[in-house]
């Protein structure tokens, strides 16, 4: 993660303002990319030395340093050596230790033994070390605009890394964010919000009560690229910057590079159900990944929300993977706690892990391999609508 001194930002009251790169930075970013291009095939240490000096055009030093940091991760290096450097080192330093002789004599003797020229030998000696490797262009060279976005992501993540808790008001993609949070040991609480796909999440590490930690700071920073795929988000975090506790605010529209696109559907099964249901129930809207629902200390993530266009009836659908009777009973109890009488559990009969019968419930639909959209439609049309 970026050292604090590298982060271009300013402090206004109790707010830290990241200095994102924009179009006005593109000219010097283009020059920087050209400098990288100019050093392709030359040694990495030569490029490093060059980048310590200013560019031939005006460029803000803090932004330039962080852009270089981002580029260093994007560009690669390659090794050239006629013989493996490790073998050369073993031969040269072994020969030098055998008997005292002048450097030139040792090098010439080893070169002769290995059947290479003295120049080839001395070039190969450390050809595998980071500074000696040759700069290689990446498969896809960044444009100034892309470099700006990636640099902005690094700036945003660098600030979030210094946070203990984040509050995110978001629309769409909440599941991916919560999945990441759980995977990284973060605590996720949901705050009530109005709207079909809106969710407000408060995410923090277990140590947030006591102090800021690196391990959970890193986990919080990794949320940022996921947020770029939300329809809308607003993020607020408390960050420790320059010895002060400051508020960071980020929102959709900030020029941040998005991470890898999340998959629209978790499985073929879900994709097929969405398509089938749309066909058999033209009066209903299918909403993928609606907002999560708090049930006690647990968050429930329905896979779909089904909403009737005419009368506004609304049902939630969750598709259960592998299950046991205990699991399904606990799930039903959770739904009762959350007052979720409008949720349909769709259970694949073939994925019973304990060979036990299912508890009976009118809100359960059984299927094998393919979820029958007509059966789901029948259930929600017949069942009385409960408040959801």
């Amino acid at each position: 993660m970026l050292p604090e001194a590298l982060l271009p930002c300013s402090i206004h009251g109790n707010v830290v303002l990241p200095h994102f790169l924009g179009e006005h930075d593109h000219p010097w970013l283009r020059v920087l990319l050209e400098e990288y291009g100019r050093f392709v095939g030359r040694r990495q240490r030569e490029l490093d030395e060059r980048l310590r000096a200013p560019l031939p055009c005006a460029s803000p030093p803090a932004k330039r340093r962080i852009a270089i940091h981002v580029l260093a991760r994007h560009w690669g290096t390659r090794r050239i050596a006629t013989i493996p450097p490790r073998r050369v080192r073993a031969a040269v330093f072994g020969e030098a230790a055998r008997a005292y002789a002048e450097r030139a004599a040792v090098v010439a003797s080893v070169a002769g033994t290995l059947g290479v020229t003295v120049t080839e030998l001395t070039e190969a000696l450390f050809a595998d070390l980071p500074g000696e490797r040759l700069v290689a262009a990446p498969a896809e060279v960044l444009s100034p605009g892309e470099l700006a976005l990636r640099t902005n992501l690094a700036i945003g993540q660098g600030l979030l890394f210094r946070s203990t808790a984040v509050l995110i008001d978001m629309e769409g993609n909440a599941r991916a964010v919560v999945r990441h949070a759980k995977l990284r040991g973060l605590i996720c609480a949901i705050l009530p919000r109005e709207g079909e796909r809106r969710a407000a999440l408060e995410i923090s590490g277990p140590y947030a009560l006591f102090r800021r930690t690196l391990v959970y700071g890193r986990a919080l920073s990794e949320i940022l690229p996921l947020l770029a795929w939300c329809h809308r988000f607003r993020l607020q975090a408390d960050c420790a910057v320059r010895g002060q506790q400051l508020t960071l605010r980020l929102a959709s529209g900030d020029p941040i590079f998005p991470g890898k696109a999340p998959r629209l559907y978790d499985s073929k099964l879900e994709e097929r159900f969405a398509r089938d249901f749309g066909r058999v129930a033209p009066d209903w809207d299918v909403v993928r990944e609606p907002e999560p629902v708090q049930a006690g200390a647990t968050l429930i993530f329905p896979d779909f929300a089904l909403r009737h266009r005419g009368d506004g009836r609304r049902w939630l659908v969750e598709i259960v993977g592998f299950w046991t009777r205990d699991y399904v009973e606990r799930k039903l109890a959770l739904l009762r706690v959350a007052g979720l009488s409008n949720l349909v559990l769709c259970i694949d009969e073939s994925r019973n892990c304990a060979d036990t019968a299912l508890p009976s419930s009118s809100r359960i639909i059984l299927f094998r391999r393919r979820l029958d959209a007509t059966a789901v439609l029948r259930l929600i049309e017949q069942e009385p609508q409960a408040p959801g």
Partner: protein
């Protein structure tokens, strides 16, 4: 017949912390130090390293509790007898007297790892050894394997294997302690001085291990860091310096400081850069007389002049790191000791190490050289197939370097701690051995002051037991 009281509280491990659940209505844990209400999960919470203190406090208050924190232990293997030197035995006793929660300070080469093995065998419990680097990870696995019969876990260098006795790098420990924290009763922390300043302290906070043994040759002298280390590991229970053991359990040694001149061109360049630096630095000192170097660096990074000053300082340091005179003197010294001694050359940075390697054909031992090659290099150095190694930092800490007689310190960047560690590399005792340390110092440069300062760490301190 007495009636058993129902537990007033249930203790659970949760991602490096302890949760207090199922509370008796009459019990308010917020009065216990370090315990806070966590509204996110509707429970009280405290960091895992306070587990033992929490248990003691609950017992003191007469509150029955159910403790589900500790995961069941896999069976332990058996230990072979471990023979200790008198001072190692004394250090072990001092650790035991400190309730097995203390730091032991012993010089490099005096057998800290052996002491740790004895402590683990004595404790007879599950243990997690934390080491700073991947090289040390392999070294500890090797040492434990020679005295312990049973599976040994490893976290680091791509491995994720768990056993009752496990070795982990600091980096892996900090990444995984939220899941490993309730599995070990003893933490052994090699090179413990790396902790206490905030960076990765959480690895120690997230463990419930009540027994802790910190090992270091160079305890932190900064009061705040030392205090934090006492909290996370334990107080210093036993301390000896190189001066205390040199001539008995460590080899005697001489230090020869060679003051060398810069060439006229080097002097001109040096003075030019230092003038640029001093102008800005002096201005800063006038405004903030009590500020540290870090404060200056932070402030300087924000202005064009400041950045120029920092760059000038960096160039001046780089110049003095390996001057013409040092090159020449190194050639003379290497030739002088070529036949009768094994030599370690220490430089200020990797760049200088590679320059030495190229010019004098000495094998470099740096972080850029792969693990397997480094192992081969150490083996060849041990056999005498290599007579000298050059390193900037990798040889400073912990690595078992085969017996060497001469050290040539071309440059250093980390002061007293680094110097103590480097000199310690030569002190493996041998009949009739007297080690020799050459310090090459550029005259009339900042190196003179640095060299004077770093030598203070070698003075005898005397043992202090609790």
């Amino acid at each position: 017949m007495p009636v058993a009281r129902l537990p007033s509280v249930l203790l659970l491990f949760d991602r490096g912390t302890i949760l207090l659940r199922d509370l008796d209505p009459g019990f308010d844990p917020s009065a216990i130090p370090g315990v806070l209400w966590d509204p996110r999960v509707q429970a009280y919470r405290t960091p895992a390293y306070r587990h033992e203190a929490l248990r003691r406090e609950l017992t003191r208050r007469g509150l029955p509790f159910s403790d589900d924190v500790r995961l069941p232990q896999p069976p332990l293997g058996s230990w072979s007898p471990i023979e200790l030197r008198p001072y190692q035995e004394a250090a072990l006793w001092a650790w035991e007297l400190a309730q097995r929660r203390a730091t032991v300070v012993l010089p490099t080469g005096s057998g800290k790892t052996r002491l740790a093995l004895a402590a683990m065998a004595r404790a007879g419990s599950s243990a997690l050894c934390l080491v700073p680097t991947r090289i040390l990870l392999a070294q500890w696995l090797h040492h434990i394997g020679r005295t312990y019969a049973g599976p040994i876990g490893c976290y680091g260098d791509g491995a994720h294997e768990l056993a009752a006795l496990t070795v982990a790098t600091f980096e892996s420990a900090y990444r995984h302690m939220d899941r490993l924290g309730n599995r070990f009763d003893l933490l052994v922390i090699d090179e413990a001085h790396h902790f206490g300043c905030g960076l990765r302290d959480e690895a120690l906070e997230m463990s419930i291990a009540a027994a802790r043994l910190g090992l270091t040759a160079t305890p932190p002298r900064d009061a705040a860091v030392a205090e934090r280390l006492v909290e996370l590991v334990g107080p210093i229970a036993y301390e000896l310096t190189i001066g205390d053991l040199a001539g008995s359990f460590l080899s005697s040694f001489d230090i020869i400081t060679l003051h060398l001149d810069l060439t006229a061109a080097e002097r001109q360049a040096y003075e030019g850069w230092m003038t640029t630096f001093r102008t800005v630095h002096a201005q800063f000192r006038r405004v903030a007389p009590g500020a540290s170097w870090e404060d200056f660096a932070r402030a300087a990074a924000r202005t064009v002049e400041g950045r120029r000053a920092l760059e000038a300082f960096r160039r001046a340091r780089r110049l003095t790191a390996f001057t013409e005179a040092k090159r020449e003197m190194l050639r003379v010294l290497l030739r002088r000791h070529f036949h009768e001694a094994r030599v370690l050359v220490f430089t200020a940075d990797n760049e200088s190490a590679y320059a030495v390697a190229r010019e004098h054909l000495i094998m470099p031992f740096t972080c850029d050289i792969g693990r397997k090659e480094r192992e081969e290099v150490l083996a060849r150095f041990r056999e005498g197939a290599l007579r000298a190694l050059v390193s900037a930092r990798v040889l400073n800490e912990g690595i078992d370097v085969p017996d060497a007689d001469v050290a040539i310190i071309v440059g250093g960047a980390l002061g007293q701690r680094e110097h103590v560690q480097r000199v310690g590399r030569l002190l493996r005792p041998r009949e009739g051995k007297r080690a020799l340390v050459y310090e090459l110092v550029s005259r009339k440069t900042t190196e003179v002051r640095l060299a004077r300062r770093r030598r203070a760490g070698l003075a005898p301190r005397g043992a202090a037991a609790v």
